[in-house]
């Protein structure tokens, strides 16, 4: 059913205001707070995905040439799992948590109550346009909020499919999709939201946070950066290589916030590593990877040009040791490996977000920690090693959103781990219960009784009261007794 807003030709500030007003009215009326409502919405989302898998796969193919396996597993299956987990666990998540109380407030009881924030805005990205749109929405629904979803215009087929499906399956008086680009997003950002979650790059992240600051709206920013992979020697090289390939080219052809961006390994090990890559890449994608159906394409000509600029820089193009082929008309670049590109090259100073994998070499594996810490904090850092001490040092020393030892990217699928960045890679986290928490306000509640009203709290203030107060705040029964007896010092 088309709403008033959709009938208007342009989605402007007034349209955005109307949308927020409608959702706020729904929220205030208690629609989204209702537990059964949350369950029916989540079930509707599951049904939506079950009944539309071919259409979703087709839209993702249109937008990204995403292989069917990636669409089915990394987008649809992951979303369904997220929905099912919320349906299963929500009854526990919504329960208030008891909190301990201290001697000083005896007798009292305390709890922490989760309540919805209100009307929230989810702005998602183009690379996993289904997952990054609906996964936050699952959390927002479970927490009882009304929601506006703004999918990315860079994946337009998926955006418009989402708009259609959400309107057909879910409660449009509480959950809306607004399509559009910069003007529409700007109009939305002018409004007052109770929370904004943004997935994308740091430049826009700053704009989102600045807009939120005007209304004191809290934000979650899922950003990116360069995710390094440290490769030590003495490992199962074949498994490590396969896992790196799966995390790099197997994830939307490197266009993922948690894709391995570059590799750090020792000078001694580099050659062996490169050979292993050549072998496994050919096994996975054949001798003509530009023709492989198992690789997404580069999303659009802007990004294609951007990637070529990184690849064709003078001091970089000579460092290609595998790949480098490109097909402009189909927006494809073959899996490409580069060895020892200079630190001051473009490719080493911006997030690659594509199928190019530089390998830089150092003398000792431990040197990689300082190297990584000298840059901005990554969203993820991966390390392949069997050395126990090295693992411990890695976890202790390296600061990043998430760390994975002996694999890449899989931590995303782990709902008991908070997924999010730190520093330039973002703020806030979600997945599993963390999604529920991120879209909730944790309200502190203290229940006091009228019994035991201590006069020492109130004026007139005397030295005796001061003594007793000190003892009470000190928390020791003996101290209190001494103060009552007048034995302690003031």
């Amino acid at each position: 059913m088309a709403s008033e807003v959709e009938k208007k030709a342009v989605f402007d500030i007034d349209s955005a205001k109307e949308v927020v007003q409608e959702l706020r009215a729904s929220f205030v009326a208690g629609k989204t707070k209702d537990y059964e409502w949350r369950r029916t919405q989540l079930k509707a989302m599951l049904k939506m995905m079950d009944e539309n898998e071919p259409q979703i796969v087709a839209a993702l193919r249109d937008d990204l040439s995403k292989p069917e396996l990636e669409s089915s597993i990394y987008e649809i299956a992951m979303l369904k799992n997220s929905c099912k987990l919320a349906l299963k666990k929500m009854k526990h998540w919504v329960m208030p948590e008891k909190a301990k109380t201290s001697l000083a407030t005896f007798p009292s009881s305390a709890e922490i109550v989760s309540e919805p924030l209100g009307v929230v805005l989810v702005i998602s990205a183009w690379n996993y346009p289904l997952l990054l749109s609906l996964d936050p929405v699952i959390g927002a629904i479970a927490a009882g909020n009304a929601i506006v979803l703004k999918p990315s215009e860079i994946s337009p087929a998926t955006a418009s499919l989402l708009a259609k499906l959400v309107a057909n399956y879910m409660d449009s008086s509480c959950i809306k999709v607004v399509e559009g680009a910069v003007p529409e997003t700007t109009a939305l950002l002018e409004q007052k939201w109770d929370k904004i979650m943004y997935t994308g790059n740091g430049r826009i992240g700053r704009i989102v946070m600045a807009a939120a600051a005007k209304h004191l709206t809290p934000v979650v920013l899922e950003l990116g950066g360069k995710c390094p992979v440290i490769v030590d020697s003495g490992i199962n090289l074949q498994v490590a290589t396969r896992r790196i390939i799966a995390g790099k080219w197997g994830c939307n052809n490197g266009q993922a916030c948690i894709s391995p961006d570059y590799i750090i390994t020792t000078k001694d090990y580099a050659v062996e590593l490169v050979d292993s890559f050549k072998c496994e890449l050919e096994r996975f994608y054949g001798k003509n990877p530009l023709e492989s159906k198992d690789l997404s394409r580069v999303v659009n000509s802007n990004h294609f040009a951007r990637l070529l600029k990184l690849l064709d820089e003078d001091k970089v193009s000579s460092k290609i040791v595998y790949g480098g082929e490109r097909d402009k008309s189909n927006l494809k670049i073959a899996p490409t490996i580069l060895l020892d590109v200079p630190q001051d090259s473009l490719i080493m100073n911006e997030e690659i977000f594509g199928p190019l994998l530089p390998i830089i070499t150092i003398d000792k594996v431990e040197d990689s920690f300082d190297l990584i810490n000298s840059g901005t904090k990554p969203l993820a850092v991966y390390m392949f090693t069997n050395n126990k001490k090295l693992k411990e040092k890695f976890v202790e020393k390296v600061s990043a959103g998430g760390l994975v030892i002996n694999d890449t990217t899989v931590h995303l699928a782990e709902p008991t781990l908070p997924f999010g960045g730190v520093g330039d890679s973002g703020m806030g986290a979600y997945h599993g219960k963390f999604s529920f928490d991120t879209f909730s306000h944790k309200k502190a509640v203290l229940y006091r009784s009228f019994a035991g009203d201590a006069p020492l709290r109130y004026p007139p203030y005397t030295n005796g009261k001061l003594r007793l107060l000190k003892a009470l705040l000190g928390g020791s029964i003996l101290g209190i007794i001494r103060a009552l007896m007048g034995w302690s010092k003031a």
């Binding site: 301990k100 209100g118 004191l216 008991t416 703020m427 306000h441 009228f450 107060l469 705040l473």
Partner: protein, 409 residues
């Protein structure tokens, strides 16, 4: 050529980078040193608070020194537990993987504190930042200058100067600090400045914690229970309004909601309690702070200038500009669109708003922006549940005031 401010911050970054704040033993030593600072300087702290705000030692101990001692002691006892990684369950699909969530310090943290609880609001966040392993720059409010000077002079004598620094100054220093990149900013103050802090932080993608304020109401539904409960209610309201810095506290009771038919009972009880606690009139006022400065004094006096507001005064109203004192003042049903009912009062003026039925208080509160605290004096369990589920606030406290902060864990 770096300014001394930039050099200080560079030193904090260097200390963090070199791992100077990482070890549990360092963090514990700093917390113990802070405890020593408080224990050994109690009198100077009381003196500074008296100078800046006219706080009595009991108020100063209850709301500042005592709170801080408790906070440090609690942190010391829990630190090892807080620092330890937490195991996370791993689904069968990933067997045999292990997972954990590991707390890590953010880096260099900026703390802005406010003038009304100049020790608590500066040192309590500092305790958190140190226990998490960060280096810190603390910028106390210059509107409590004696307390600010005390912190500037005393902290370097007890804490690690390379990791914890205190900077004196006013809004201009604050603005310069906000231009720089921090790993976290912790701000306590007004929503207006909170917006500026967050906007500045946005440029560097710096996460912020903003402790702001608002109008914290007290719903009163216990006057017709028993006389003793009514008396305790009155004491707790008076204690929760004028007790903390004469109402200049983010969690002070801002205004009261009560049923029409019980308004006069409440007012009589409040008057009796005020006189007993604070004295008969403005000349004999005691056990109460003063207004922090002329600017705040004028702001509060202006709230009473509107003739409709002035007409609604039922107790108090006298002011002493020289001593910066406004006596505890009660107003009955000032106009709802007056400034006193739309701005956070942050002072010793207590509007009482009457309703036909106490349940209307829920809609009344919801018509305004979310308060920091809702105080509800009621023994009706159904009403309690409704308040909890139908209103939104930072905290809800039933049948008391202020304690949730002072004695919170």
């Amino acid at each position: 050529m770096l300014s001394s401010m930039e050099k200080s911050i560079a030193e904090l970054r260097e200390t963090f980078k070199n791992g100077g704040t990482k070890s549990i033993s360092w963090r514990k030593s700093q917390l113990k040193a802070l405890l020593q600072l408080i224990n050994q300087n109690e009198d100077s702290i009381f003196k500074a608070l008296d100078q800046d705000l006219g706080k009595s030692p009991v108020e100063s101990y209850r709301d500042e020194v005592g709170v801080l001692k408790k906070s440090v002691t609690y942190t010391l006892s829990c630190l090892e537990k807080w620092v330890a990684p937490k195991k996370a369950e791993v689904p069968l699909l990933f067997f045999p993987a292990k997972a954990e969530v590991m707390p890590q310090p953010l880096g260099v943290v900026l703390i802005f504190s406010s003038w009304n609880f100049p020790f608590t609001l500066a040192l309590d966040p500092l305790i958190g930042a140190i226990s998490a392993g960060n280096t810190v720059l603390l910028k106390p409010s210059d509107l409590a200058p004696a307390c600010m000077s005390f912190l500037v002079e005393t902290i370097p004598k007890y804490l690690d100067n390379k990791a914890v620094k205190v900077l004196a100054g006013g809004a201009d220093i604050g603005e310069r600090l906000l231009q720089l990149k921090w790993d976290k900013i912790f701000f306590t103050g007004s929503p207006r400045v909170g917006r500026l802090v967050m906007a500045a932080a946005a440029k560097h993608l710096t996460p912020v914690t903003l402790e702001l304020g608002g109008k914290s109401p007290a719903i009163v539904d216990t006057l017709s229970t028993t006389p003793s409960k009514a008396k305790v209610t009155a004491k707790r309201i008076v204690g929760g309004k004028w007790g903390p810095c004469t109402g200049q506290a983010c969690i002070a009771i801002d205004y009261v909601l009560v049923e029409e038919k019980l308004a006069s009972t409440l007012i009589e009880l409040l008057k009796k309690t005020i006189k007993r606690f604070y004295g008969e009139n403005i000349k004999s006022l005691k056990n109460i702070s003063r207004i922090v400065n002329k600017h705040q004094f004028q702001r509060l006096v202006n709230l009473l200038k509107d003739p409709n507001v002035a007409d609604s005064i039922v107790y108090g109203g006298s002011v002493d500009e020289e001593k910066l004192v406004i006596e505890p003042t009660i107003l009955l049903d000032p106009p709802l669109d007056s400034e006193i009912m739309s701005e956070e009062i942050f002072g010793p003026l207590l509007p009482i708003i009457t309703l036909k039925n106490i349940e209307e208080s829920i809609d009344f509160i919801n018509s305004k922006s979310n308060p920091l605290v809702i105080y509800a004096f009621t023994e009706d369990d159904t009403f309690k549940k409704r308040i909890l589920s139908e209103t939104s606030s930072g905290t809800v406290t039933f049948n008391d005031s202020m304690v949730q902060y002072r004695y919170s864990i």
